[in-house]
């Protein structure tokens, strides 16, 4: 079933009815959830995710705006008539009932044509329990379960009546990493099979990316961006969204655009077009920073820190750029695996640490223009780079660089291109 939210606003009155303290939990939220899709609602704590779920299931009335399930306006329909399933953030299991009775509870309340026989209820409850692997705990009371087990009971209880719409409020927050992954896949599979329109709330961006058809990124009750996970990652509309998605997070630098070039610190790293000269934030994804092998000339001039002044430094590096850095015939074997298409420019930082994480190597470095104390680059572990000198130079992949306005933090559409290939 398609779910449409139209200009939904929810304001919570403050205590004593003073207008000043009013909280706008959801602000003019409009969105159409396509039938049978899984939507990930993503945002930091307190941004109104749970409030949206409460509006959807009818526990809260919107201050203004309408909600439609399919063609029906359900804005004024009470919760018990909406037929949605919900996994609460704090589980909300019935403490006096056993696991089995908890799972049976929604089925026992079905009325009329939907009413099931006792045996049917039992088999559906068992099936739901098996899905989340709690079929051995059926006779326990919630108080006798671990947090993760309780959470799974809550999932089973929401699934068992095969609701028209399934709402999950951080349903995996209490599971260990492996079970989390497994349950995530399981939810995804069940959702695909049953085609229940699902809203999945999380503040774990990785979880949202992996499970959702569509992601909605929110901040302080306002929608920031809606789109497919990859699309949001590749094309964030503002600095907040760019920072929120991706692990390790995007590296943000203070930079500026001058004369068609992008400057960070004292270095011009890329050429840009389509932007007037201005101060910007430069976001570079960790995988967009590719360490460049040291060259003889670099060792001579760039081996000390702080980063040398632009002009001098440039004179050393320019030649290589013009001829298409970094692959130098001598060291080509190491870097040969990187797609070189978008890779251009160089960018010097002080190396502060290298962590080998199995498949990948995470390089930590320091740069004076960085917004965070540490910047990160992720490279494949197969690359045998020499990462021992103090100064590390990165090539920058142009498709991983985003520019944001310094004031509004909105994305600036600009075309970045490697330096030295000026038209």
């Amino acid at each position: 079933m398609k779910v449409v939210l139209k200009n939904l606003t929810k304001k919570f009155p403050s205590r004593r009815g003073k207008r000043r303290g009013e909280v706008t939990a959801v602000d003019n939220f409009s969105f159409e959830i396509p039938d049978g899709k899984l939507v990930g609602l993503l945002g930091p704590s307190g941004c109104g995710k749970s409030t949206i779920l409460n509006l959807l299931c009818g526990l809260e009335r919107p201050t203004s705006g309408r909600i439609f399930f399919g063609e029906d306006d359900v804005t004024d329909l009470p919760a018990e008539k909406r037929g949605v399933g919900m996994v609460f953030q704090n589980y909300a299991l019935y403490p006096h009932l056993t696991v089995l009775q908890n799972i049976l509870f929604p089925l026992e309340n079905l009325k009329g044509a939907e009413k099931l026989s006792r045996a049917e209820m039992r088999s559906r409850a068992n099936e739901a329990a098996r899905l989340v692997q709690i079929d051995e705990l059926m006779d326990r009371k919630p108080g006798e379960l671990s947090g993760g087990q309780q959470q799974r009971v809550a999932i089973a209880r929401a699934l068992v009546k095969m609701p028209r719409i399934l709402l999950m409020d951080e349903p995996l927050s209490n599971l260990d990493a492996r079970l989390r992954l497994q349950t995530r896949e399981e939810i995804r599979r069940i959702q695909r099979e049953t085609k229940i329109t699902t809203v999945f709330v999380t503040h774990d961006q990785e979880e949202a990316m992996s499970i959702s058809d569509v992601i909605v990124v929110m901040k302080e009750g306002v929608v920031q961006q809606i789109g497919k996970p990859q699309q949001i990652y590749d094309d964030p509309v503002n600095l907040f969204v760019a920072k929120f998605l991706g692990t390790p997070p995007i590296n943000v630098f203070r930079g500026s655009v001058k004369d068609g070039r992008l400057w960070i610190g004292g270095e011009d790293i890329l050429g840009v077009s389509g932007v007037s000269d201005r101060e910007v934030y430069v976001g570079i994804r960790p995988e967009g920073l590719v360490p460049v092998p040291e060259t003889q000339s670099d060792k001579g001039s760039g081996g000390t820190f702080p980063i040398p002044d632009g002009p001098k430094r440039r004179s050393a590096g320019k030649e290589e750029e013009r001829i298409g850095l970094p692959p130098r015939p001598a060291q080509g074997s190491g870097t040969g695996t990187i797609p070189m298409s978008g890779l251009q420019g160089t960018f010097s930082c002080r190396l502060s640490g290298v962590e080998v994480m199995g498949r990948e190597i995470s390089v930590a470095a320091v740069h004076e223009a960085s917004e965070s104390p540490m910047i990160r680059a992720v490279i494949s572990a197969e690359q045998k780079e020499d990462l021992t000198s103090d100064v590390i130079r990165f090539g920058v992949r142009t498709d991983k660089v985003f520019l944001f306005d310094r004031e509004t933090e909105r994305r600036i559409t600009a075309v970045c291109r490697p330096l030295g290939r000026r038209e």
Partner: protein, 306 residues
């Protein structure tokens, strides 16, 4: 090598010392605990005797014959010629069995109605929103400050005006509502997390069904406690039934006891009265023994949560 051996020995010695020390402490601790326990039990035993003595006195008196009881200038603490005559007396002098039945009807019906009223009222005050809720509750609470004796008089006038004297309705009606129990249960209901209400709503229950299937089972200890307290209250009630009934057909056991007492030969027939009291107390004692655990649970929970 040697050095290390020496060290080891030293260590062992030290270790042994600390072991001894530990044992000493343990021993003194055990002694202290024993002494404490002895005192505690002595105190408890004494208290139990004090509490149980009236019961013993009641049973003792009920098996003394009327004449021997009256001949004892100073009542004796035992009797050598126990008799069941008093029990016979109690049942024959007045229709005690009939009173018994009346009391059962009165207690059961009153308690049932009280439960329904209390649960619904507590639910309304705890969970529903209606205009004037806080005012209504405050007024209800302030009723607790009016002494019962005052209420009895107005109730008497009301019931008499309604023409309900000497009827079960008149007997039962004023005891159906209980402000204190509503307050107690409301507090209890409010401690059940809101999230359960929301979950139940999403699971498709109406308010009443939520009350029946979630709230009442969760608050069962409190509900059982107030049920039993109310039943005891009904069983023991004396003033109101005495006021409102002058027809023997509606007398309760408490009226019966009074009647038996007045039935002696010129003097009060205390032994027969005591026999009646014993008979009447038995159902309550059985009730308490049956639900002892639940009552205690309810009381202690109410206590800790204040």
């Amino acid at each position: 090598m040697e050095i290390s051996e020496e060290k080891e020995q030293h260590y062992m010695e030290q270790h042994k010392n600390t072991g001894d020390e530990f044992k000493k402490i343990e021993r003194s601790d055990r002694l202290r605990r024993k002494v404490l326990k002895t005192f505690t039990y002595a105190g408890l035993t004494f208290w139990a005797l004090v509490v149980l003595f009236p019961f013993y006195w009641m049973v003792l008196t009920s098996v003394k014959s009327y004449s021997s009881y009256n001949s004892e200038y100073i009542p004796k603490l035992f009797t050598l010629s126990p008799t069941l005559q008093n029990y016979k007396e109690a049942f024959t002098a007045v229709p005690l069995a009939g009173y018994f039945l009346n009391t059962v009807i009165f207690a059961v019906v009153t308690t049932m109605l009280m439960l329904i009223v209390t649960v619904l009222a507590a639910f309304a005050f705890a969970r529903l929103n209606f205009p004037g809720k806080h005012l209504a509750f405050t007024l209800l609470l302030s009723l607790m400050m009016i002494p019962n004796e005052l209420v009895v008089i107005t109730n008497y006038v009301t019931i008499t005006n309604l023409g309900l004297r000497s009827t079960f309705t008149g007997l039962i009606l004023p005891s159906v509502s209980s402000v204190f129990y509503i307050y107690l249960l409301k507090e209890n209901f409010e401690q059940v997390p809101d999230q359960l209400y929301y979950a139940a709503k999403v699971d498709g229950t109406s308010d009443l069904k939520y009350l029946r299937k979630v709230l009442v089972p969760i608050c069962r200890p409190t509900i059982v406690t107030i049920t039993i307290l109310k039943a005891i209250e009904c069983w023991n009630s004396y003033v109101w039934p005495r006021l409102i009934t002058d027809d023997e057909k509606y007398f309760l056991v408490s009226n019966g006891i009074q009647e038996i007492r007045e039935n002696g030969f010129g003097r009060e027939n205390i032994p027969a009265m005591m026999a009646a009291v014993v008979v009447i107390s038995v159902p309550l004692i059985v009730l308490f023994l049956l639900f002892r655990k639940v009552i205690m649970e309810g009381v202690s929970r109410g206590g800790t949560k204040g």
